[in-house]
Every structure is written in structure tokens, then in C-alpha cells.
């Protein structure tokens, strides 16, 4: 069903900056986030570029040690707080959740717009810190260095992160209420797409975790200003308390990044195997289990900080426990492939990439959760490789896969399949070449956060830098052809894949209120059997 005559939809209903900057349409807000986070992704990527250039040679010949400290700090801050955390929820989640549950909008549309403004306000503070000289504490802001000794812009960065946290909280709050209150008639909890379950779990973490980093950063900022505070050893304060509070949020924050990505992968695997996800209930509950367990493992970041050994043992055990729901998901996606009719289109290539890279990232996480081995690996490139496999190999793979999969719905146009497949391949190769050598470097003992290193590490570092250049091409390519396709791509039908899910039942792009008529759901999630008949009947 390709509409031939111009049709009013959410993109062409109004034009001009005002119609975007004052919109309360969740779809437009999703796109506003898309623009913001793409910008911040390339800012963070620029820092990574200089880091990899510096590390191409063992000597510190491109930048000074102090500059290098600022580079990895700002790379981390930009990528984590301003790209990875909002990436899937704020762009794809915002765009899709109301569509998937059959609602006209999120529960609080104005709050949704406000959260975008808050996000950018926080980013402005951080960018101010970046351009006025940067910050060098590492994205972890450990005290007392951050409170007392660093001479860089810790305060502005901290304020930026504090402010941005509220946008994350408001997004989570909005999703929780939306999923509870706005579902279409018949759309009960176990008919929800797994994408929605994953976002529900993510929202729980955002709502429960983010306030803790907010108060922690606030206390840190205060302490920096008045030079006295709760982390100050002179008053009997404990700097390690900061690490506890910081990781109480920042470990679950990893699940804020990866849970929505898992939701995307569930959708992709179902759509491109044309099967219902194996063990739907288990995958849904695994999301919730990851959210719950994720709050109980922060101490594995403190194995070498003087934390009690008994606490360490419990944290180690619980960290292993998180592997169970994560593995449930991986096994269930794999089982879904079995006897599925798998098609290898671009989104599915990214889904395969996610499953492989997330598995490597997850299993190496178990190495680090083992207290004995962790002492050897702490603060080495092994850790760097591990979390990049989860955050970049996991989250960004799924984000790109999701962006391609829903691009016809977002833009009304198809992306060029050949270029996209090439892009997916480049990203996969570039990613592994960048980060796999870092596992070896870390295992051999190369510490992170140094701008120079012994000569015997050079070969692996050059491989890593070469991989990073390939990865950069892989990230720029989709940006080019996706923008191109907005004008020149083939017109997309309402359900090009064809897939299940309410978002595919409305036109592409959808009208402002999403559906001509609110659907009544009488079928289960991923019920392909009924749809096959419809499609074949339609021709």
C-alpha cells in the first residue's frame, strides 16, 4: 500500500524551527534527540581519534600527558552521558514506545520536550568545560583528586552531568507511566513487544539510579566550591564513599545502555527469522532481572580499593549472577534462529554483530568479576576492551541496527541496502580490530590512561589505531547514506519487512497521532502466522 498522493504525516504537518522546537510529538522529540546525540557522538569520537593517534607510537609525541588525561576524560564523559545513555531510549524508545503500545503519545508530552531541553542544557555546561580547557579526572571523578587537586573544569562538567541526569529521570518516568497507562485495548503486558519490556526495565534503573548520581555529583560540586564536605578526609570523611555512591549508579548505567539495545535485538531477531522469540516470558523477565541484579553488583569496581574481602566475595558472586539473565537472552535469540527463515538484511547483520560482541564482552566481564584475576587486570586495557565490547559492540551495534530497521518508519524512505550492508561489515571488522588487541594488551599488563607505553606493545596498539580508522569510516558511512535516503531513497511501504508490531500497522511515516483509529489488539506478540495469510492475500 504505497500512498501516491501527498499524505499528511508527522513530518510534513508543519514546517520551520518553531514547529520542531515547541513540538510535543514524541516522534519529533525522538528526532531532536537523534540530532543532539549524533552531534555529541562525533565530539566524543573526535577525542577518541586523537587518543588513538597518540597511541600509534610508544612515545608521548602528539600530546602531553596532561592533555591526554583530558582527552580520555572528555571522550568518556561525552560518550557515556551524552550518547550511550540516551541513544536507544531517547531516540528509538521515544519514537517507538507509543507506536508499539498503540498510544497517541507518551503520557507527559510536555515533560518529554522539557527533558530534551534539560539534556541540551546539561550538554552546554559540559561543552563549556571542554572548550574552556577541559577536565582531567577520568569520567569516574574519583575523590579527593576531583574535589581538591584537579585544576581543571570539574565543576562545570559535574553541573552538566547533574542537569543531564534529570532528562534521563524524566524520560524513564515518562516511559513507566506510558507503559502502565497508555496501552491500547487488548494490549496486555504479555502482548507487549520485548522492546517495550526492555525499556520498562531500563526506566526502572533510570528512575532508581540516576537520583543517586545526582546527589553524589551535587555533593562533589559543593565540596569543590566550599573546599569542605563529606568526602573530605580532614573531617573524617571517606573518599571511598564516593566510589560506592558513584558506582551504585554507574554500574546500573551500563544496563541503561545495554538493556534497550537488547530490546532492539529481540525485535530484529523476530522480524528477520519470521518467528516468535523463543521463550518470550523468559526474555521479558530477564530484562527485569538484569535491572534488579544490576543494582547489587557495584562493589566489583572496588575490589582493589580496600573494600572488605567479604563484601568483595558477595559482590563477585552477584556479578556472576547477572550473567544468568544475560545468557538467557543470548540463548533465546540463538534458539529463535533455529528453523527460522533467516534473512540477512542490514538490521539482522547488526543483530548478529550484537550477539557475538555482547557475548565476548559479557564473558570477559566474568573474568573481571573474579576477585583474584581482577587484581591482575584492574586498570589495564583488558577492562577498556571489555566495556567497549559491551557499550560499543553491544549498544552501538543495536542502535545502528534499530535505526536501519525503523528508518522506513521514521523517514518514510528505504536506506540503500548495498551500502548499508557494506557499512555493517566495516563496523564489525573495524570494531574487532580496534578492541580485540586491547584484550591482549591488558592481559600483558598495559595500564589504561597513559599516553606513552613500552615499545613491545606497539604492534597491537597500531592494530588498534588502524581498526579505529576503519570504525570511523563505518560510522560516517551510515550518516551519509541515511541523510541521502531521506530525499532519494525509495518510498517505503507501511510494513516493508514485513514485521509484526503495531508500529508497522500505521503508515510510514505515521500521522501525528500515530493511528487513524486506535487499534484493538487481539493477537500475541510476534504472531507471524496470521500475518502471512494477510500478506499473501494482499498479493
Amino acid at each position: 500500500m504505497i500512498p501516491k498522493q501527498p499524505r499528511t504525516h508527522y513530518l510534513n504537518i508543519s514546517y520551520g524551527f518553531k514547529s520542531w522546537l515547541f513540538t510535543t510529538d514524541h516522534k519529533r522529540i525522538g528526532l531532536l534527540y537523534l540530532v543532539s546525540i549524533t552531534l555529541f557522538f562525533f565530539v566524543g569520537g573526535a577525542f577518541a581519534t586523537i587518543i588513538r593517534l597518540e597511541l600509534a607510537t610508544p612515545q608521548g609525541d602528539l600530546v602531553q600527558a596532561e592533555t591526554y588525561n583530558k582527552l580520555f576524560t572528555m571522550h568518556g564523559v561525552m560518550m557515556i552521558f551524552f550518547f550511550l545513555i540516551p541513544a536507544v531510549p531517547a531516540v528509538l524508545g521515544n519514537f517507538l514506545i507509543p507506536l508499539m503500545i498503540g498510544a497517541k503519545d507518551v503520557a507527559f508530552p510536555r515533560l518529554n520536550l522539557l527533558s530534551w531541553y534539560i539534556f541540551n542544557l546539561g550538554a552546554l555546561f559540559t561543552i563549556y568545560a571542554v572548550v574552556s580547557g577541559g577536565v582531567d579526572t577520568g569520567w569516574t571523578f574519583y575523590t579527593p583528586y576531583s574535589t581538591t587537586y584537579s585544576n581543571t573544569h570539574v565543576l562545570a562538567t559535574g553541573v552538566g552531568i547533574f542537569i543531564t541526569g534529570f532528562s534521563s529521570i524524566l524520560t524513564g518516568l515518562n516511559f513507566i507511566v506510558t507503559i502502565h497507562m497508555m496501552r491500547a485495548p487488548g494490549m496486555n503486558w504479555f502482548r507487549l513487544p520485548l522492546f517495550v519490556w526492555a525499556h520498562y526495565a531500563t526506566s526502572l534503573i533510570q528512575v532508581l539510579g540516576t537520583p543517586v548520581i545526582a546527589i553524589t555529583v551535587l555533593l562533589l560540586a559543593f565540596e569543590r566550591v566550599v573546599r569542605i564536605g563529606i568526602f573530605d578526609p580532614a573531617l573524617g570523611g571517606d573518599p571511598v564513599l564516593f566510589q560506592h555512591l558513584f558506582w551504585f549508579y554507574s554500574h546500573p548505567a551500563v544496563y541503561i545502555m545495554v538493556l534497550p539495545a537488547m530490546g532492539v535485538v529481540s525485535e530484529l531477531v523476530a522480524a528477520f527469522t519470521r518467528k516468535s522469540i523463543f521463550g518470550y516470558d523468559l526474555v521479558a523477565f530477564a530484562s527485569i532481572a538484569i535491572a534488579v541484579f544490576g543494582f547489587l553488583v557495584w562493589g566489583h569496581h572496588l575490589f582493589v580499593s580496600g573494600q572488605s574481602v567479604y563484601a568483595g566475595m558477595i559482590f563477585s558472586f552477584l556479578s556472576y549472577a547477572v550473567a544468568i539473565p544475560s545468557a538467557v537472552k543470548v540463548f533465546n535469540w540463538t534458539a529463535t534462529l533455529y528453523k527460522g527463515s533467516v534473512s540477512y538484511q542490514t538490521p539482522m547483520l547488526y543483530a548478529f554483530g550484537f550477539i557475538g560482541l555482547f557475548t565476548i564482552g559479557g564473558l570477559t566481564g566474568l573474568f573481571l568479576a573474579a576477585m583474584g584475576l581482577d587484581i591482575h587486570l584492574t586498570d589495564t586495557y583488558f577492562v577498556v576492551a571489555h566495556f567497549h565490547y559491551i557499550m560499543v559492540g553491544g549498544t552501538i551495534m543495536a542502535y545502528l541496527g534499530g535505526l536501519h530497521y525503523w528508518w522506513p518508519k521514521i523517514s518514510g524512505r528505504m536506506y540503500p541496502e548495498g551500502w548499508a550492508k557494506l557499512g555493517a561489515l566495516i563496523v564489525f571488522v573495524g570494531f574487532n580490530l580496534t578492541f580485540f588487541p586491547q584484550f591482549l594488551l591488558g592481559y600483558m599488563g598495559m595500564p589504561r590512561r597513559y599516553h606513552a607505553y613500552p615499545e613491545e606493545f606497539q604492534v597491537l596498539n597500531v592494530m588498534s589505531s588502524a581498526g579505529a580508522s576503519i570504525l570511523a569510516v563505518g560510522y560516517i558511512l551510515p550518516m551519509v547514506y541515511l541523510i541521502w535516503s531521506m530525499r532519494y531513497g525509495p518510498i517505503a511501504s507501511s510494513n516493508p519487512w514485513p514485521a509484526t508490531g503495531l508500529e508497522w500497522q500505521t503508515s510510514s511515516p505515521p500521522p501525528t497521532e500515530n493511528f487513524e483509529e486506535i487499534p484493538v489488539v487481539t493477537w500475541e506478540a510476534y504472531e507471524f502466522a496470521g500475518q502471512e495469510k494477510e500478506v499473501s492475500a494482499a498479493g
Binding site: A103, K104, D105, A107, F108, P109, L111, I169, L173, N174, I176, V177, H180, M181, M182, V207, L208, G209, T210, P211, V212, A214, I215, T216, L219, F222, V226, R227, I228, G229, I230, A234, L235, G236, G237, D238, L241, L245, E513
Partner: protein, 234 residues
């Protein structure tokens, strides 16, 4: 919903089906927000627990230097304001504009009384150099009478008392900030109520502001004993 064709009910936003759905969404949203607030204050409560167990004598000494009468008075004021807020919500539900405005105004006034008393307490702390920072002073002997029956008297480290006061100001300051925001919200409600914007069917803003106000009160119900009453039984 069928009524959509006839007339949209007053106060109903376009993306909701009914006022009931809208009210439930608003209330749930506020509850979720209050959970984030619990986690926000939670960081400070954790700090309090940690340092109180580390420096029990200093916390008792610092606590004894707080004015328990003003604290108790403020507790009564806040509990009273919760009552008037609950009555305001009730009268918004039955649609009585006059009583709604009356009780909202009373609630706001009680909130301002609380903030005024807090201001008096803060001023006194500044004058006694009990505000943490370069000016902080802790004269243990001078405070000795106030420490009567305190087993830690005489071996109190002033630096750790400063930590107590840092936590005192952080917790009560954050609470006072929430009170100021709450009073501002109620002021807006009063203006809207006077203009007749609320009806027996549409009064969700009053209800969710009420939830917020009660939450801020409850935080104080924890702060008062933790900060003012410790070691008093000895």
C-alpha cells in the same frame, strides 16, 4: 471513547481517552517522581548512617547544640500543613472553590512559617560559627553543660562535629529547597483555583501537588529525630 464525538471533557489532554486515565497517569507519574526523590535523599541518609556510626559522640554533641524547641515547633507546623493540604485535596474533589482556596492558602502559610523558623535557626548557627567552613568553631568546654550525661563529653573532635553540621545543612537545606518549590507550586494552585480552573471532575494538579507536599513532610519526620533527638534519652 464515545464522548469524544460529543464534547471533550474540560481539562482533558488530547492524547488521553478519559479524565480518569489522565488522573491516574498524573498520580502514577508523581509517585514515580517521589521514588526518585527517595533515592535522591537516600544518598544523604546513607552518608548520615555511615558517619554517625563512625563518630557517635560528635553527632550527639552536634545534635545537642541544635534548638530542639524550634525543631519540635516546626514538626508540629509541618504536620498541621499536611492536614490542611489533605483538606484542600478533599475540597477540590467535592468542588468547593472557596474552601479549596482557604486550605491551600493555609498550607502555604504554614510552609512559610516553617521556612521562617528554619531561617532563624540557620542565622543562629551562623552566629555561633557552626556553619562548616573556614569560620567553623567548636568550643567543647563552653558546650559542656549542654553535653550533660553525654558519655562522649570531653573527647569530642571538633572536625567530626563539623561533619555533623555539614550533613545537617545538606539535609535540611535540600529539604528547605523542596519546601520552597512546594510553596511555589501551591501559590500557582491558589491563582488557578481563584480563577475557577478546578472542578470536581478536573483537579489532578491539586492532588499530585498534595502528594508532593506530604512527601516533603515525611522527609522532615525522619530528619527531626535523626538530627535533633539523638542521644537525648541518655
Amino acid at each position: 471513547m464515545a464522548e469524544n464525538h460529543a464534547a471533550t471533557p474540560y481539562g482533558l489532554a488530547h492524547h488521553f481517552d478519559s479524565l480518569d486515565q489522565q488522573r491516574e497517569a498524573g498520580t502514577l507519574g508523581m509517585w514515580v517522581f517521589l521514588i526518585t526523590e527517595i533515592m535522591f535523599f537516600g544518598g544523604l541518609f546513607l552518608t548520615y548512617i555511615l558517619y554517625r556510626s563512625k563518630f557517635p559522640h560528635e553527632f550527639v554533641a552536634g545534635s545537642h547544640a541544635l534548638d530542639i524547641r524550634l525543631g519540635a515547633f516546626n514538626t508540629a507546623v509541618l504536620i498541621g500543613s499536611s492536614l490542611t493540604m489533605a483538606l484542600a485535596v478533599y475540597y477540590s474533589q467535592v468542588g468547593s472553590r472557596r474552601l479549596l482556596v482557604t486550605y491551600l492558602t493555609l498550607t502555604m502559610l504554614l510552609g512559610l512559617v516553617f521556612l521562617g523558623v528554619k531561617g532563624i535557626e540557620y542565622t543562629e548557627k551562623f552566629e555561633h560559627h557552626h556553619f562548616p567552613g573556614a569560620d567553623f568553631q567548636w568550643e567543647d568546654p563552653a558546650q559542656a553543660p549542654a553535653l550533660e550525661g553525654n558519655p562522649g563529653a570531653g573527647k569530642v573532635d571538633g572536625r567530626h562535629v563539623e561533619m555533623f553540621y555539614w550533613i545537617y545543612f545538606a539535609m535540611t537545606g535540600l529539604h528547605a529547597l523542596h519546601m520552597i518549590i512546594g510553596a511555589g507550586l501551591i501559590a500557582v494552585l491558589i491563582v488557578l483555583a481563584v480563577r475557577g480552573r478546578f472542578t470536581a471532575e478536573y483537579h489532578m494538579p491539586v492532588e499530585i501537588t498534595g502528594l508532593y507536599w506530604h512527601f516533603v513532610d515525611i522527609v522532615w519526620i525522619f530528619l527531626f529525630p535523626l538530627l535533633y533527638l539523638i542521644g537525648r534519652h541518655e
